[in-house]
Subunit: 346 residues, 2 copies
Amino acid sequence: MTTNPAAQAVAAPQNGQSNGQAAGAAQRAGAGGQPVPVAEAVIDPRKFRRALGNFATGVTVMTASADGRKVGVTANSFNSVSLDPPLILWSIDKRSGSYPVFAQASHFAVNVLAVGQIALSNQFARPGDDRYAGVPHRSGVGGSILLENTAASFQCEKHQIIDGGDHWIMIGKVVAYDDNGRDPLLYHQGAYSMVLPHPELEEREEVNAPRTEFHSRLVDNYFYLMSQAMRAHQEACQPERRQGGWSAGESRVLLVLDADQPVDLATVVHQAVMPAREVEPVLRLLRERGLVRQEGSGFVLTPEGHRQAQAVWDMARRQQDRVFAPFSDEEKALFADMLKRVIVRC
Amino acid sequence: MTTNPAAQAVAAPQNGQSNGQAAGAAQRAGAGGQPVPVAEAVIDPRKFRRALGNFATGVTVMTASADGRKVGVTANSFNSVSLDPPLILWSIDKRSGSYPVFAQASHFAVNVLAVGQIALSNQFARPGDDRYAGVPHRSGVGGSILLENTAASFQCEKHQIIDGGDHWIMIGKVVAYDDNGRDPLLYHQGAYSMVLPHPELEEREEVNAPRTEFHSRLVDNYFYLMSQAMRAHQEACQPERRQGGWSAGESRVLLVLDADQPVDLATVVHQAVMPAREVEPVLRLLRERGLVRQEGSGFVLTPEGHRQAQAVWDMARRQQDRVFAPFSDEEKALFADMLKRVIVRC
């Protein structure tokens, strides 16, 4: 997520809590009718960035070339602006080594990554100049570069560059595009995610008593039932998860490190399904809080770290035990077995 | 999705296909090194908007007030720009009746909607001035308005307004925020969606042979197994779905209408889990293609419409039959029963 500010500060320690000072000042101001100037200092960049992470986005790789230098950067700041003329925008860190090429190039391309393209996202977020190594791609308009198997791509003529604080806002006019319709890769709370169709969640008592033809056909579809179960589960777990105080990315790192052996950075990145640039600040935070220490090239939890990780596992276990209490051990074993065979057979 | 251009044109008929003319021109240009001017006419707004829908985003409600008039608009064009100073942006249709209030107000607030807030998203995307009717809210800084139970909110001082074609790009400087950490509502391919954590999808043969402590604990978690099964399913179905040529939103409308009785608009909106503004262009498209006709205040499929809907159901059924072939009817019945009880018990 190189080019989004949400990726440039380290994660903040507390989740699920209001940014008390600033919000308090703002609310007092709002209630009184007249806005009160709020000091710059109340915006803690770590907490601000963490709050921004609640807005889920797709992931793109922006590409351009000029004077024989090809650049590509991972960005989640993409959005559409206008249909007539067709304009889109994204923003790039003013300190980015790739910016001079984007500034010089006449065109750039937006590659919207598909759900299976985590490796590409990581590769184009990595420091270094060999980002295209091993990446199948073809030429786009004006030296822009199109990656293969994306969800969509937009080839743009550079339209305008606007000052956006520590970033440049790049506005492009779309001159060509491809719509591949693949499921997209998502980015949320510091971790990679994917899209789950939002099921029409009927009132609980109606699950076994469908009223419409549409619904009565859906309840025969196991994948639809699974998506409803996932949604019900997420909603039920939410209050408890927030009490835990960890963002999605933070709890994933904690769980991956809950092992007897030191875990190296590459393994954390892979198993936590997060960008390396998100894992590093989380590790720093966990070290600051005395939960993680480095051992050789790996990371291990301290006793307190293991205790926190155990609390996260316990929370998941309690929820699962509560939901699956009515089932016999044989039924539960069959359920898990069927799910594993679905994973293998799909 | 009032303020995003992706919501302002009608949906285009074909999915999963390259925008041949424009892309072809662009690729020829790119291959030759020199960009060739591409005529405006090659961007079909319907197809362009449909391609933009591949980039998944969260959903926000933007609020402000001035001269005693409170406005609120649903937008998915939000993104972060800068950490220092803390800047965010979004864009609003120049024709929006709410724009004069945003232009006059000194501040606005960004309300990032949580997964359960579809009704709020729809309410603030609806024409009319009573958008706050029945909506719990409180005052924010400078007349902005904060909705309850959102995933996050950002209170902003108006920083700059930039011309963005048929939209104004609104840049705000964040002066206060709340981070509630709730799961977000998503918007993708014309339909509401939600976030599914991206599971580390091991090689198929490793599902039953976990190698790490992290993984061996995860495979005992039914919800993790379900998320892996959902991902495997989505990836397996993708090629077939694209052959069908329907976007997520289009196929949902088709399936909801596949009934013996006419279905009214409100029911389609509810059951397809889509914004009304997205359902209407889909219905128009389906009528143009002879798949839907109006009957009184409801909509019914034509025989050809039923045939297309049946093809979508059949596709899902074939996939399910293939994946679940090894299981006995008793096992399948137990699986479905367990899922339904999970939904009820969560």
